[in-house]
């Protein structure tokens, strides 16, 4: 296996790096004279807002893109990466946010897939040597200090185990440069600390790890060195000991104001605790690979933000889809202001006053090929204000689109521009502009700040608070515990499709919530709120 991989050579000063790399896409300067060095046995964090140029730099390091000028450095020598295959041969491996594992195969099969150890039976006939594969797997497991049940089907393995397999697969092929793209986004806090331990162990064995993250406290906990990017440039690069979180934030944001979500939460006075959204005994069966929901009950009061927490894939998205009327439930009840909605269609939910912000902005929240105007006005095509006889009143539609976008301060060029021309934050604000336009009482909001930069996050948090102060309420599912803690009055925790606990804002810490997130759904009484 893996014949030409270079073993870690501690004598070089730069295992992987970049010298003066620039890359333009049309008029957009994605990278502008970026230089950085990763030494052997170093964990190097790369941080910055969306669009700061991190992804472009990583694509260049993997040979997916060629720089316009400047070069990639490997083992102190400049190299030209022609394609990703060459990068892999030179020891550079990437762990993507979405794992590249075949769900139908076992973990062991995934580990060796594409590079199976073979055993010759007779002449040219060879078969896969599973015994040897397992031995190799055990050795890797030991090297990384983790425990894995290799014969488990991948689809049933927990997310963090799948992530280990991704990493071990790269190690097995001799990759000693690992690039991890936001590896903690899918993990619970306890799992994050395990991953950190694993990565530190690999570092001590000489691996060079590049770690892309938005979460500065993880950077501090894990990285040795940090490079901060802003607007295509590497604006700071220093040992983590020399840069505290405040200093990093300043570099990331430039002159922009600090993150307002850190401000003390304004005291939102709960109006008389009128429960408007009631969910009782909601069950939903599994379709495709979704998590079944089991007997979920919850209430939401006016003026309240209720958080839904859980390790990814434990039923949060399914619950949110049920609340938005996009997934059918097998039993139970959802009622808004006393009117039963179970068994109705999604448009009935909308008509009753429920808006929905999808976690999948690219495929469900927006129609990427449609214009900005069409995206912000979709769903309102039958409103009498936008009709003239049987026809759409296009001037009125255009005026309303501008008004909606202005209300939420969405920055755009022209209404007819494709919605994909907007930045992530502005795209998400556009989704909110559409969903809040009809003044729904309840907003079902899933992962609103995924892929949104710090300024956009602040704006979206403000929108959510404003919605509640204006007499609405929000159900918010987020993988960012900090976000839930900053915004929510109560946080409900799901595990394996069951409601396993609830925490009030005053008691909410990442630890209390994380503990509930990892609880098994079976046999747990719901904590009293």
């Amino acid at each position: 296996m893996s014949p030409e991989h270079p073993r870690t050579d501690r004598s070089v000063s730069t295992r992987i790096g970049a010298r003066d790399i620039s890359k333009n896409y049309g008029l957009v300067q994605a990278n502008h004279g970026v230089s950085f060095n990763v030494t052997p046995g170093q964990i190097h964090a790369v941080v910055g807002e969306n669009g700061a140029g991190k992804s472009t730099l990583m694509r260049i390091l993997q040979g997916l893109e060629r720089p316009d000028s400047g070069t990639v450095i490997l083992n102190d020598e400049p190299v030209q990466l022609r394609d990703p295959q060459q990068a892999i041969r030179l020891g550079i491996g990437m762990v993507h946010q979405e794992f590249m594992l075949a769900p139908e195969l076992t973990l062991l099969e995934n580990l060796v897939l594409g590079d199976e150890p073979m055993r010759t039976i007779a002449g040219p006939i060879a078969i896969v040597d599973w015994k040897k594969a397992l031995t190799e797997a055990r050795a890797l497991e030991k090297r990384a200090g983790v425990a894995i049940d290799w014969n488990r089907p991948t689809a049933t393995a927990p997310v963090h185990i799948q992530q280990y397999v991704e990493i071990l697969r790269l190690l097995r092929r001799g990759n000693d440069v690992l690039i991890l793209d936001e590896p903690t986004a899918v993990l619970a806090p306890q799992q994050v600390s395990k991953l950190i331990a694993l990565l530190k162990q690999l570092r001590d064995q000489g691996a060079s790890i590049i770690f892309i993250s938005h979460k500065l406290h993880e950077v501090v906990a894990l990285a040795d060195h940090v490079t901060i990017m802003r607007r295509g440039k590497a604006v700071a690069s220093a040992s983590v000991d020399e840069l505290d979180i405040a200093a990093m934030t300043r570099h990331i944001m430039g002159d922009a104001p600090a993150d307002p979500s850190e401000q003390a939460r304004a005291a939102v006075v709960l109006p008389d605790a009128r429960r408007i959204l009631r969910v009782e005994g909601l069950c939903a069966v599994t379709v495709d690979r979704s998590q079944a929901l089991n007997n979920i009950s919850m209430d939401v009061c006016l003026g309240e933000i209720v958080g839904i927490a859980g390790v990814a894939g434990n039923g949060q998205e399914e619950l949110m889809e049920c609340l938005a009327g996009l997934r059918s439930m097998s039993s139970g009840s959802i009622s808004l202001n006393g009117a039963e909605l179970a068994g109705k269609e999604n448009m009935d939910f909308r008509r009753a006053g429920i808006g929905y912000v999808s976690p999948d902005r690219a495929h469900e929240g927006l129609a990427r090929l449609a214009s900005i105007a069409d995206n912000v006005m979709a769903g309102s095509q039958h409103a009498p204000a936008f009709l003239k006889g049987p026809f759409r009143n296009l001037p009125a539609v255009g005026r309303a689109a501008r008004q909606r976008l202005a209300n939420l301060d969405v920055r755009y060029g022209a209404l007819s521009d494709p919605v994909s021309s907007l930045s992530g934050g502005n795209q998400q604000k556009l989704v909110f502009a559409r969903e809040t336009a009809s003044k729904p009482q309840v907003l079902i909001v899933s992962q609103p700040t995924r892929g949104v930069d710090l300024n956009g996050i602040a704006a979206i948090h403000a929108i959510l608070r404003q919605h509640c102060e204006g007499g609405g309420c929000v159900v918010l599912a987020s993988e960012e515990l900090d976000e839930l803690i900053a915004l929510c009055d109560r946080i409900l925790v799901l595990s394996e499709g069951r409601m396993v606990g609830a925490v009030r804002n005053e008691d909410a810490t990442p630890e209390t919530i994380g503990k509930l997130m990892l609880a098994s759904g079976d046999g747990l009484e719901m904590a009293h709120v």
């Binding site: 938005a324 909308r350 495929h363 129609a367 090929l369 105007a373 069409d374």
Partner: protein, 361 residues
Amino acid sequence: MSDHVNTDAMPADGLAAMVRRGLDGTLRFVVPIGIAFAVGAVLLLAIGENPLETYSLMLSEAFSSQRRFAATLSAATPLLFTAVATAICFRTGVFNVGVDGAFILGGLAAATFGVMLPMSIGWWIIPLSIGAAMLVAAFWLWIPGVLLARLDVDEVVSTLMLNFVALGIAGFLVNGVLLSETSGNNTTETIHSTAELSRLVPPSTLHSGFLLGLACVFAYALWSSVTPAGFEARLVGLNKRFARAVGISIPSTIIVVMVISGLVAGLGGASHALGQVHKFSDGFSAGYGFTGMAVALLARNSALGIVFGAILFGALASAGTTIQLFSDIPLDIVNVIEGTVMIFAVVELGKLTLWRKGKRP
């Protein structure tokens, strides 16, 4: 069908953007045609003909006199209907290839009514025949619509197969109960003269069905750009999950566009039966449904593009026939050009450019 940005005519959004979109559309129309004629030229050279001479002969055969131009428009008439019927579905993301079958059944229904209804009802015979054709064809495409919307049956397979069923049904009937007693086989009686659509510029066969076709294109333009239903259909075509999440019913949108497509295809069949051939016989549709698909693809579902595309293919068909009569060039050259246009009409030009530069997209 295409990855360029689809926009409704939004007011006051800059002349430059409109000009850019217009140029873009023109390019996407002209380039596939250019490539197709180049491929045709290679074939013509291979059989020892001069392509330039052939093409200029075709051009003059198609457009050079009033009579020839009328013949071109006459050949374009069925394509106006089938292209609109196809475009309605394509822009909704429903790959309906069953327009040909609906066109045939519509024609059969119209011809049958044109023969069977009593002459005594006078001009009423025309709207009744047309209405019957539209109902039959709409029902015909409602079937795959419901199968797709409710049972997730792939519409390409169902509509393609239903074409053969339609052909079989029509063939069976014109050799059985509807067979003419006077004129040989595989054909119905000729319709009553009161059921015939009027000729516009006799002696040419150009008939008032052409005006109906233009009206259809115009109605399609209105439907797609300024009605809520057309807007919803486009969102469904662009992104089904998005459309559903904003409260649009995907199943009913699919069924509605299939039924509208059937109505238009049936109207086309009626126009062809009552205006052009005055009866129904085997071989009623010379692949009009599929040529209409080529037109819709080339036009990228735009109404204006459909008019130009239908006239282009009408010209090819009418000039091709005359050329075959007076020279050694086979009519098949027209089919080659048509097929090549279809292939290159669906190629994304943006990708072509990238490919030429040897870059990854």
